[in-house]
Amino acid sequence: MRLLVVEDEPTLCAQLCRSLEAAGYAVDAAGNGRDAEHLGREEPFDAVVLDLGLPLVDGLTVLKRWRAAGRNMPVLILTARGDWHERVAGIDAGADDYLVKPFHMEELQARLRALIRRAGGQAANELNCGPLTLDTRSARAHVDGQPLVLTSHEFRVLAYLLHRRDQVVSRSELSEHIYAHDSDRDSNTIEVFVGRLRKKLPADMIETVRGLGYRLRAPA
């Protein structure tokens, strides 16, 4: 799962990125409205944490432009401005959630998980596929109740496939959603992560659809 954090205060931005990366997300950051708008238009994020008071272009305008351009990833507004008329304006501009500073990191993460889950059409915090369960709150996966030991990249690949269970996901799509913008992207590594996951999961759970990509499904 790949997130965009838009926050102009560098320390807070770094804290957010660190904390979200620790929770298993690939995180991109933008420190002003113009960069944020560009990234949000060009890159496929699974969710965005958006501050409103931004240099160059304010957050509300950025959000409206994304929505006008047809970008419909879930957006959580994280702002110091907690007045209700500002919340109404934020939600009406197309935000999916609104969190007021100062905030608890746990609450932010819980809300992001919920946004991503709802965007993928999932109702519960726990994603299931046959014997495999993944708790988005604790970022832990189990097979038949036994914990799986996963690296952060393996976790991201598995979580993304689980959110799109029974759908074909291309290698490039996977790569776009598990790597941050500035990291080295090598779609060959995806094969490596999928290969490792296959060894840890029951046989045939990750199917290769020739020429298209991968599909996660419950074993027959």
């Binding site: 807070l12 209700w84 008329h85 109404v88 609104y98 905030f103």
Partner: protein
Amino acid sequence: MNGRTSLRLRLLLGTLVWILGSIGLTGWLLNGLFSEHLGRQFHAELQTHLDQLAANLEIDANGRTVLSRPLSDPRLARPYSGLYWQVDRLGEAGQPAVPAVLRSRSLWDQALAVPDDHPADGEVHQHAVSGPNGTPLLMIERLLRPLDPPGPAVRLIVAADEALLGEPLQRFRGMLLTALGLLAAGLAGAAVVQVRSGLRPLNRLREELTQLRDGRRATLDGRYPAEVQPVVDELNTVLARNAEFVERARSQAGNLAHAVKTPLSVMANAAAGESGPLAELVGSQVVLARQQIDHHLARARAAAAAQLSGRRCRLRPAVDGLLRVLQRLCAERDVELTVGQCPDDLVFRGEAQDLQEMLGNLLDNAGKWASRRIVVDAEQTAGELRIDVDDDGPGIATGQRAELLQRGRRGDERVPGSGLGLAIVDDLARLYGGRLELLDAPLGGLRARLWLPAGRDGDGTTDTPAP
């Protein structure tokens, strides 16, 4: 009405005194002039009769005084008509005077008694005497001494009833009084109308100022006469500057609060990553700081709003907007948000943002506690809006309710929140002259009942919250 401070009374009294004074003086002058004119005319008429008498007087061969022909005025032939003449022969060399050797027929058998003041020959004297039946007469006399043949001097007397002079004067005074009275009444009426119409703009100004004070308008926008308009313009300038100051102060308070919140977030996050007493202290102080900021920001907003007059906003769009937000914020929980009764024409007499702040906090609180349902109901009763926000949560024990409305108290620590929501709503409502009541909801949970001043649509600046 206080005479010293009432402009209308002062203007009216001044005008009336002036009108009555000038009309009184005019009346007195006209009366004097006319009376003098009549007196002169009366005297001239008597003189004419005297001249005619002198011209017609002859001494016959026997030395008797006779009239060659009667005097022309017919009144002289009518008994006691009020116009008389008489000729006295004056005694000479020891002979007694003979009064009334000749007299007008109008004197009948009466004779006029004349004060003996020995006028010189040809000299005319005037006397006021008593005539027939005691009527007061005005009389002129003149001595005539015949030379050919020489004889004793005769006194020619012509007299007229003073009533002949007084009657037209009396009639004239009556007419004059009526005319001047009518003129005074007309002028006084005109003065009243003038003062009323002249002061009407001031009444209008007072009405607008009352509306301004009651919050029914934001500026004075009537058109006024050139003498009043500068005052109105100045007042509007002061109002606009006041509003600008309030707005600036409010936005500065907001900016400061928001500027502080980001560093607070950084501190809270840093502390959350650490363990130990310092981290705990930082964590708890950040919560306190946020509570203080929220509370004082809300108060600054409300105090500013109470200063601004003439704001209005519709209730329904505010409720709808907040429900949209709450539906997002409660998306994780299966809570049904419904609006029961809330007519579209309900208007809150105040700032839209403050209404959203109050309702938002109430809905937020309901959202934290509701198990499945939140219902908003609103209606207008006798100039007040009654807005109920009901939930089906655990409710609040009666004894705790008053405590909860105090600053910074939290009813229950189980649900996250600053705990200030309800206290802020109560504070804001009170600044608007309203109040917050915590009751039992029919759904089983808490009913937060908000009373706010109602406005009428279109009697002030209506700003509608974001749809």
